[in-house]
């Protein structure tokens, strides 16, 4: 944690929108590799991979957030993160930067009329005109 209420976020893209997760939660960013399917698992779980000797579940963030999962391309990345003793990899379209976002520049999530996905959002960060959706990892990793 840095001082002055600033937190660093790892920024990534899903479709054309930017998303962020706190860098403290991120373990590594990996290229997408083939997964082993887990039978009887929810649809947003793509499967598991072997990450340097550990078996890590891979979650399709798009499916989890109710978007259509399109084909994985060479820019696709897996963000391996940890929250509350859970370790998972999230598949995202691309990831390239880390930004510091001041607490003051984070707005509350919009209180849209019954959007079931709104609970996955912690807030909207504003950095030099860009809007970054900050995810609530705790909620996202609930089944």
């Amino acid at each position: 944690m840095s001082s002055d209420g600033e937190t660093k976020y790892v920024i990534f893209k899903l479709n054309e929108e930017y998303y962020g997760v706190p860098i403290d939660n991120v373990l590594s960013i990996e290229k997408v590799v083939e997964t082993t399917r887990i039978p009887n698992a929810p649809d947003y779980i793509n499967g598991v991979i072997n990450l340097r000797g550990e078996v890590i579940p891979i979650v399709s963030l798009k499916t989890k957030l109710g978007m259509e999962e399109d084909s994985i391309n060479k820019n696709s990345r897996v963000i391996v993160l940890t929250e509350n003793e859970i370790v998972v990899g999230l598949v995202v379209d691309s990831s390239s930067e880390v930004l510091e976002i001041d607490k003051e520049n984070i707005d509350k999530p919009p209180t849209a009329e019954d959007n079931q996905y709104i609970e996955y959002i912690n807030g909207i960060g504003k950095v030099s005109g860009r809007l970054i959706i900050l995810l609530n990892l705790g909620k996202i990793l609930e089944h």
Binding site: P39, N40, V48, N50, V55, I86, V88
Partner: protein, 667 residues
């Protein structure tokens, strides 16, 4: 207190357990050999160490209890207290409470709020019991906190000699720069005219300036109060002096002062405890992890192997640009050797002697034999047999159950034994030894054996078998009925065993760690339980099978046979596929359906893997077999913990992940 003690809890628990184990052993020895001074010394030393440790960690209740224990043990050591059966029982009780406390600390990171008052009172009664003069209950209780028996005795003696006993409270001036030096002057002055027999805080603490500005003393002298006051007044930097003469040690006067002090102290301690519990709530998640104590030689060995790995890595780096195949093969062979040794070495690090499970039995058997009025000689062999740490944790409860069973149901009462011409004392043998990749644990008793007819009757009564079945079942088969759920042969439910949860629980527990249990018994000769558990849970033998293009692993320990079945011989009864296997009908599980795959085998003959869970069997239909292989089990992790039919994953030679089928949940 700002110091964060949480980081030391691990260490505390580990050490406390070790000390408690020593205490347990010494106690059991002592019971047989009451005059053994070195055992009492050992107990005293352990109590003392525990007191210090728990005090430092702020586990007040534990510290208080061990303090009282120490007093009693001191009394025994100086032959003031007779070491009777009751005293040993009380010390055993203390041990139990301490053991519980440590377990509680291990679990929650903090002490339970229970104060063990009743037990402390028992210890005090023991102490009082040897005290020739009757001391008033209340008063003694108060004094006991601060004035120990020794001080009281001296005070009494002084009284008899006509000396004056003073209770002096001194408050130093807040401006006093060198508190301990000033206190030293006061002590010196007093010692020149009499004897200080008690000081609170202790002299050591005062020397170390571990006190505020006041302290109190009990002082014996010939001189009178005024003279004493004059002497003290001549010392500078003292704010207040409060002197009271102790007319009668038995009166509560001194007690009341001390009570107040005690109350203040208690309040302080409570405040401390509250602030600490606040602290600890923030770190509540930091449960105590599992630890293993490792012999340094093993670590050295590991270290060596790792350095060899580094050497081979550089060697391979050099090789990579030259395409000398022969050298490469040689290097790979070398690498293979290292990884095998490395694997062995790491496994060894995880191993702990089975003693950790066995060491609780002497005490348990002692208590049980008292409770049941049976005489039992427990013999243990092979305590140093090593098992993986994870296995150790799982095997404890089942073993306790079996040993209880042997003593409760197996061993007869002394009278019955004599009538049968057996020695009065029953024998229970606990034996462990390695056998290949397994460890075998045997529990043998020389009791009455399994009552085959009784088991039959019970099984019919409980509708586990029918009358007709009872006729045709072999003795072996009847013995296995003992492992059926809800089976308990004890006529009445005793406190010891037979609470309805029986051997079936034992069996499923052992099977959950890929172990097995057998029973061997002969009427009037005895019963023998044979438990086989794998050396480790991390690596198992498995059969790799293919379903479409997915590879799954089935633990070899649950496979009975691989066979084929013709399409026509599969019957479907009420939605359940059934096949005939060795004269028995067993359910057939279409794994494809379970795993959400399409079944597209058009052959006339299917390949099935027959698996078992206890007595239940099932045939798993697979597409093809890949082969048997040693696999390293990787957990699927918390996120996937709810997924059905899988018990873990493993990484195959090519780096791909393969899932391990959980046979127990499939059947």
């Amino acid at each position: 207190m700002d110091l964060d003690l949480n980081q030391y809890i691990n260490l505390f628990v580990e050490e406390a357990k070790e000390h408690l184990q020593n205490m347990n052993e010494a106690l059991l020895e002592l019971e047989k050999d009451k005059d053994n001074v070195s055992l009492i010394n050992e107990l005293f030393r352990v109590a003392h160490t525990l007191k210090g440790m728990s005090g430092t960690m702020g586990f007040v209740n534990m510290a208080n209890l061990t303090h009282e224990m120490e007093n009693v043990l001191e009394g025994i050591r100086s032959h003031e207290i007779e070491l009777s059966e009751t005293v040993i029982d009380i010390i055993f009780e203390c041990f139990d409470v301490l053991d519980d406390s440590v377990n509680q600390i291990a679990e929650n990171g903090k002490e339970s709020s229970e104060e063990h008052d009743a037990l402390i009172e028992k210890l005090r009664t023991v102490l009082r019991g040897n005290n020739a003069t009757e001391v008033k209950e209340n008063n003694n209780r108060v004094n006991d906190i601060f004035l120990n028996e020794y001080v009281l005795n001296i005070a009494k003696e002084a009284k008899i000699k006509g000396l004056n006993i003073f209770n002096i409270k001194i408050e130093l001036s807040p401006k006093c720069m060198l508190k301990s030096a000033r206190a030293f002057i006061i002590f010196n002055t007093l010692e020149s005219i009499g004897d200080i027999i008690y000081s609170n805080p202790s002299v050591e603490d005062i020397e170390d300036e571990k006190f505020d500005f006041n302290f109190s003393l009990v002082f014996i002298s010939e001189i009178h109060e005024e003279k004493l006051r004059d002497e003290l007044n001549s010392i500078s930097e003292i704010d207040k002096i409060h002197i009271s003469v102790l007319e009668d040690i038995e009166t509560a006067k001194v007690g009341q002062d001390l009570v107040k002090e005690a109350e203040n102290l208690k309040k302080d301690i409570e405040e401390l405890a509250v602030s600490r519990s606040k602290n600890s709530t923030s770190t509540r998640d930091s449960r105590i992890g599992k630890t293993v104590r490792v012999d340094i030689d093993r670590l050295d060995n590991l270290m060596n192997l790792v350095s060899e790995l580094i050497i081979i890595k550089t060697r391979m780096d050099d090789l990579s640009d030259i395409s000398n195949k022969e050298n490469m093969i040689e290097a790979i062979e070398y690498l293979e050797r290292i990884t095998t040794s490395l694997h062995d070495a790491v496994m060894k690090v995880r191993m702990v002697p089975i003693e950790r499970v066995f060491n609780r039995f002497p005490r348990m058997v002692r208590d049980l034999s008292k409770e049941l009025n049976k005489e039992i000689d427990l013999q243990m062999y092979g305590e140093d047999t090593e098992v993986d740490r994870t296995v150790i944790d799982e095997i404890g409860d089942p073993l306790i159950h079996i040993v209880r069973n042997s003593i409760d149901h197996g061993i007869e009462t002394p009278e019955n034994r004599i009538n049968q011409g057996k020695p009065k004392e029953g024998t229970v043998i606990l034996k462990a030894y390695p056998d290949g990749n397994n460890v075998v644990i045997e529990v043998v008793d020389d009791g009455k054996g399994i009552d085959i007819e009784g088991v039959k009757r019970k099984a019919i009564e409980k509708e586990i078998i029918t009358d007709q079945e009872a006729e045709i079942l072999s003795e072996e088969e009847i013995k296995t009925l003992l492992f059926q759920p809800g089976f308990s042969t004890s006529e009445e439910i005793s406190d010891v065993s037979g609470r309805g949860v029986g051997l079936d629980v034992v069996k499923s527990k052992i099977e959950s760690i890929n172990g097995s249990i057998e029973i061997d018994s002969e009427t009037d000769i005895g019963t023998k339980f044979i438990i086989r558990i794998p050396l480790t849970l991390a690596i198992i033998q498995a059969l790799l099978v293919k379903l479409k293009d997915e590879i799954y692993a089935i633990p070899l320990s649950s496979i009975t046979e691989i066979t084929s079945v013709t399409k026509d011989s599969i019957r479907n009864i009420q939605g359940q596929d059934i096949m005939l296997y060795r004269g028995k009908t067993i359910p057939m599980v279409r794994l494809h359906r379970l795993m959400g795959l399409e079944f597209s085998n058009t052959d006339d003959e299917y390949l099935v893997v027959v698996v078992r869970k206890g007595e239940k069997q099932a045939a798993l239909l697979v597409d093809s077999l890949i082969g048997q292989q040693e696999i390293v089990i990787k957990p699927l992790g918390k996120y996937l913990s709810n997924i059905k039919y899988l018990s873990g994953a493993t990484i195959l030679g090519n780096g791909n992940v393969s899932l391990i089928l959980d046979v127990n949940s499939i059947i």
